[in-house]
Amino acid sequence: MREIHVSEIVEKVKNMVMDTEYNLPEDFIKSLETAKAFEESPVGREIIETILENAKVASIEKVAYCQDTGYPVFFVEVGQDVHIVGGNIKDAINEGVRLATREGYLRASIAFDPVFERRNTGDNTPALIYFDIVPGDRIKIKFAAKGGGSENQSKQAMLKPADGLEGIKKFILKTIANAGPNACPPFTVGVGIGGTFDYSAVLAKKALFRPIGDRHPDPAIAMLEEELLSLANQLGVGPLGFGGTVTAVDVKIEVAPVHIASLPVAVNIQCHANRHSEIEI
């Protein structure tokens, strides 16, 4: 058994959250630089330049890239040979988020109850944490700061098996077109196909952690990712929805086995504040 003290988790989560809020991932920045050359609209090109400039300023000045510092979402893989000491891992992750919010000057965006008072918890907790037990003696922590504007434009559908591939494509493209200027394109589009109602959405969110340009190992799914990316960029939405040929920089698809009666499809729209990161302890 390898021992990991919760204090190490608190410290590493705190730093990871702050870093992610200030610095966009390199692969995403590169994809925007590449996308600029493909953008036919002069306004679209100017917007991509502004987005890149904003990323530079946020990184240099260590300020939040977007005022919506997002819903803290974690996917945590805990090795079965790890022994966590000094407290529990869930509290440790939340403490890391709490400290990052305070010390990193992040906006508090979580309301404790969704229906009645909608009281702000003031420190971005509780974070949403998915745990998975895996072989080994390490802990892998993946973090996303999920903005509300793009999350609101995400959709899930329980399609019929008869809707098939055409139905899947149509639903994904309609979701992207409708998200349009409301969700701050250029997007990264996460898609989950199969599983159950709830699991398809988790897959869509998980898909967003794959590096930009990385293709699914199944060649048929990889081809579908490329086809959807090309179609998404023919919708005309363009950077920030002002019209153009760069609506998305990537489409990521994850699939899971499915009930014979079902075809769940979930689309998680990720805005250009594509804040994802990963650490291993």
Partner: protein
């Protein structure tokens, strides 16, 4: 979208009449912030007392919930939030004299009609570019609902804050027009 106009708040009908969808604007002067929770409370307060927490005539509301300022900063990162969430409240505020709103994304039909009827415009700012936009904000003070934290109503002073006229009083819509020009495929309804 080439012309850049400099305008200053409060806005008058004369100025509003010159603005067309797609115009680039550098906006200066005082504006107020309000987003979901502040709008809900403002309109509830108005129903009860007949008053709003600030004089809305000729004013502009910026839909923003900024991050807290770091030491030495006037305001934290401060980009626009999605405007359609405020659509339910906007026509009433326009009727009461509001002349402009700043956000990102599409507005609904009722808001677009109210813009024509009460002579007001909807400006779009570049969503997500919050670190850059905050540099055009020179002062910030909370004027109401401090308990709402990031959603409190703030009075900001803008200096050449860059926006684009998204919806004008003539029915122009920068998103619809812009997207039509680059659309290459149709998706069946």
């Amino acid at each position: 979208m080439s012309q850049v106009k400099k305008i200053t708040t409060p806005l008058t009908d004369d100025v509003i009449e010159t603005l067309k969808a797609g115009d680039r604007i550098l906006l200066s002067g005082y504006v107020y912030t309000a987003r979901d929770a502040a709008h809900k409370r403002m309109l509830e307060e108005y129903k009860k007392t007949g008053k709003l927490p600030f004089d809305i005539k000729g004013q502009v509301i910026y839909y923003v919930g900024p991050t807290p300022p770091k030491p030495g900063q006037v305001i934290g990162s401060a980009g626009p939030t999605t405007a359609y969430r405020m659509d339910k409240y906007t026509p009433k505020l326009l009727e009461l004299g509001l002349k402009g709103t700043i956000g990102k994304g599409w507005r609904g039909t009722k808001v677009k009609e109210a813009l024509k009827k009460f002579k007001a415009v909807y400006f779009a700012a570049y969503g997500g570019t919050a670190a850059l936009l905050s540099k055009h904000i020179k002062s910030s003070e909370i004027v109401a609902y401090e308990d709402l934290g990031p959603e409190a109503i703030r009075k900001l002073y803008f200096e050449d804050f860059p926006v684009i006229v998204a919806n004008d009083i003539y029915g122009g819509d920068v998103f619809t027009e812009g997207q039509k020009a680059y659309k290459k495929i149709e998706i069946d309804p």
